[in-house]
């Protein structure tokens, strides 16, 4: 187990800088997800932590000790690759023991560790098979097993679930979380899938264009996104965003208006009238139908996605052009062409500065 500190971590290929001075602290035993769209630098960052990619500027320290110049094996990390990177010509047993043999560990100790990992991951039956005789999920478990046997200080996962089918992905998600509880090792997990990050991590780092957009607990990011990028990235379906304006302030409250939402009053201390804003409303933060009786806001329904236990309505608010998605718990009898009253739930209206994209608060 180790804590990790990154100070001004920078990666540049020639003149092209892809990671722009990242500062980040990861506590001992924490499960951290690095999440962001393709090309945001999350995998590069993970590979820098692993020692597979050199560090252009800045520092990475494990437990206070700078590891910039250490080889991957000296850092005491284990890594699970997206492609699994199993040794194709070796049996599962050999795949698991290969790294331990490099350490000139005693045979008995190697066997014990392999047996332990095999039991933990239910690989006992496959120990003498080669990777090509295994299913995707089994290969994935071997890759995790190979990481476990080293008893690493830090586990690194590089999009480990992206080659699995949906059902297996959910299952493996659970297995990795269980593993983290069981081992208590620091884990860093790279994914582009915000659902994986939300369900597994204790802390999420949202990256975009080689910079950190926000660091926080999953629910914090959902409820208090620091800027438009995080607001749009975290949460599925994504937050509805409307161009609006502050039309007036009274006491500690501001009145904001947009063609879609009409006028809303939100508690906001410091806002100049006339300021351009983005108004954010999550699909799940609407009251619909009978619940919203009397609301002046009407949704023209264009499309209904009914999943039985929940319903998604795609439509237009107040006759505006922008598509709005509304999420309703349970089944809702609605059809395209319907006109339903909706009301944004109090306390769930997000405001962002239109120019900078930074959050002005939530009300």
């Amino acid at each position: 187990m180790a804590s990790i500190r990154m100070d001004g971590l920078t990666k540049a290929y020639g003149n092209l800088e892809v990671i722009h001075g990242i500062d980040l602290d990861i506590e001992e035993g924490e499960f951290v997800a690095l999440v962001g769209p393709s090309g945001c630098g999350k995998s590069t960052m993970l590979r820098m932590i692993a020692g597979l990619e050199s560090i252009s500027r800045g520092e990475i320290a494990f437990d206070g000790e700078v590891v910039n110049e250490m080889t991957p094996s000296e850092r005491g990390i284990s890594m699970v690759f997206q492609s699994y990177a199993l040794y194709p010509h070796l049996t599962v047993r050999k795949n698991l023991s290969f790294g331990l043999e490099n350490l000139r560990m005693k045979r008995a100790e190697i066997d014990a560790r392999v047996a332990e990992a095999a039991r933990m991951l239910e690989l006992d039956a496959y120990l003498d098979r080669k990777p090509k005789a295994l299913s995707g999920g089994q290969r994935q478990r071997v890759a995790i097993g190979r990481a476990i046997v080293r008893h690493p200080k830090v586990f690194l996962f590089d999009e480990p679930l992206s080659n699995l089918d949906a059902k297996l992905r959910v299952q493996t998600r659970g297995e990795i979380t269980r593993l983290h509880r069981q081992l208590g090792t620091t884990m860093i997990y790279v994914t582009h899938d915000q659902v994986e990050a939300m369900t597994m991590a204790g802390k999420i780092v949202v990256l975009n264009g080689g910079k950190v957009e926000q660091v926080g607990r999953p629910l914090d990011l959902f409820e208090r996104p620091a800027n438009l990028f995080v607001a749009g990235f975290i949460g599925s379906p994504r937050m509805n965003l409307y161009d609006g304006q502050i039309v007036g302030t009274e006491g500690g409250a501001a009145r904001v208006a947009s063609p879609e939402t009409g006028e809303l009053t939100v508690p906001l201390g410091h806002a100049a009238s006339g300021r351009a804003v983005k108004i954010g409303l999550r699909p799940s933060h609407f009251a619909v139908g009978a619940e919203a009786e009397g609301s002046p806001l009407m949704l023209d329904v264009d499309q209904v996605e009914s999943l039985g236990h929940e319903t998604y309505l795609h439509g237009r608010l107040n006759g505006a052009e922008t598509t709005t998605i509304v999420h309703v718990q349970n089944h809702l009898d609605a059809a395209p062409g319907d006109r339903l009253p909706v009301r944004p739930r109090a306390g769930h209206v997000h405001l962002f500065d239109a120019a900078s994209g930074q959050s002005l608060g939530r009300a």
Partner: protein, 344 residues
């Protein structure tokens, strides 16, 4: 692809057309011209018989130039005399084979009835051993180095491959000039060595150069096969090995070499077959197998017995060919068997 009612399988060419690219349209037009007769033919004979139409041209050439000659050679091997046409030649059973194989001691060619054949067999054996091993090692090392280059990989690959494009006779003549008494090598090293060495007239030197020239000539081809194998090994396996703390040496022996084995096996099979068949470049380089019979190989013996002497012993030459073919067959089978075993 979509099958229509008549069972004709139509290629999906809509995509090519819609891209509107000029090259694509040209290709499309060309395909149309080629396609039409095949479409008609397929309607006529049915889809199931079409594969035969496609393999027929090659099968015909193969039959005329390989299959029938092989059968003829086997036939000639059991006949005697000097007549050219098979039906004019007397059947002699295994006489040619027994002449080839009759030896006082198989370890001493001088005790054999056809001592030149056995000298050639011995020469071919050592040549094969040195040439196959040498080329394999040199190609492997070259491929490993090329694979590590970050810059100029294509350039050096082309450089090493270039000799393969030359004619064997040209290669032999160039090297002959290089190695001659008044050649470049002697000119450069004359002062250093004090005297001029006539490389191709000394038994050991000439054998060394025959193998050396062959390695120089052919290594580019094998390097390419091995390089392709190296590039097919996923990079992330080496990254996993790095994280596992694997030394370079162990990476080579435990990862690279086993993963390269299928390619190395192909290279080895090709090398052995080609080494046993050595003839043209060595023949020109050594002026017909000299000095003496130091570089006389089996194919040269076959060629000279059948075509280059006054008494043309087609039967004996054919019998030697058949024996060589059998030896190659055994070698190949053993290697395929080893390959299968390694795979499991």
């Amino acid at each position: 692809m979509a099958a229509t009612d008549d069972g004709y399988v139509r290629p999906a060419r809509e995509a090519a057309v819609s891209s509107g690219d000029r090259g694509d349209r040209l290709l499309e037009a060309a395909m149309g011209v080629v396609e039409w007769p095949f479409t008609r033919l397929q309607r006529l004979i049915g889809l199931r018989r079409m594969p035969w139409v496609f393999v027929l041209p090659n099968m015909a050439l193969f039959t005329i130039f390989v299959f029938i000659p092989v059968l003829l050679a086997i036939g000639y091997a059991f006949t005697g005399g000097t007549e050219l046409l098979l039906w004019n030649r007397p059947f002699v059973g295994f006489e040619n084979f027994s002449r080839l194989l009759s030896c006082g001691s198989y370890l001493d060619p001088a005790t054999c009835e056809l001592d030149l054949f056995w000298t050639a067999v011995f020469n071919t054996t050592w040549y094969t051993a040195f040439n196959a091993t040498g080329t394999l090692v040199v190609s492997l090392v070259t491929a490993l180095v090329l694979n590590r280059l970050t810059r100029g990989k294509a350039f050096f690959r082309a450089i090493f491959f270039y000799p393969v494009l030359l004619s064997p006779v040209v290669v032999a003549l160039v090297w002959k000039w290089f190695l001659a008494r008044n050649g470049l090598l002697n000119a450069v090293f004359a002062d250093m060595m004090g005297e001029r060495t006539i490389f191709l007239l000394e038994v050991l030197w000439s054998r060394f150069w025959v193998v050396y020239v062959s390695i120089w000539f052919h290594m580019g081809f094998y390097t390419l096969i091995i390089l392709a194998g190296l590039q097919a090994i996923p990079r992330d396996i080496y990254e996993a090995a790095l994280i596992d703390g694997t030394s370079r040496w162990r990476q080579f022996w435990r990862l690279t070499l086993p993963l390269l084995m299928p390619n190395l096996l192909v290279v080895l099979v090709l090398l052995l077959i080609r080494s046993v068949q050595v003839f043209d470049e060595a023949w020109v380089l050594t002026d017909g197998g000299g000095p003496g019979t130091a570089n006389t190989f089996v194919v040269q013996f076959i060629y000279e017995t059948a075509f280059a002497t006054d008494v043309r012993l087609y039967g004996l030459a054919s019998a030697a060919s058949v024996l060589m073919g059998l030896a190659l067959l055994v070698l190949t089978l053993v290697q395929l068997w080893l390959g299968k075993k390694a795979e499991n």
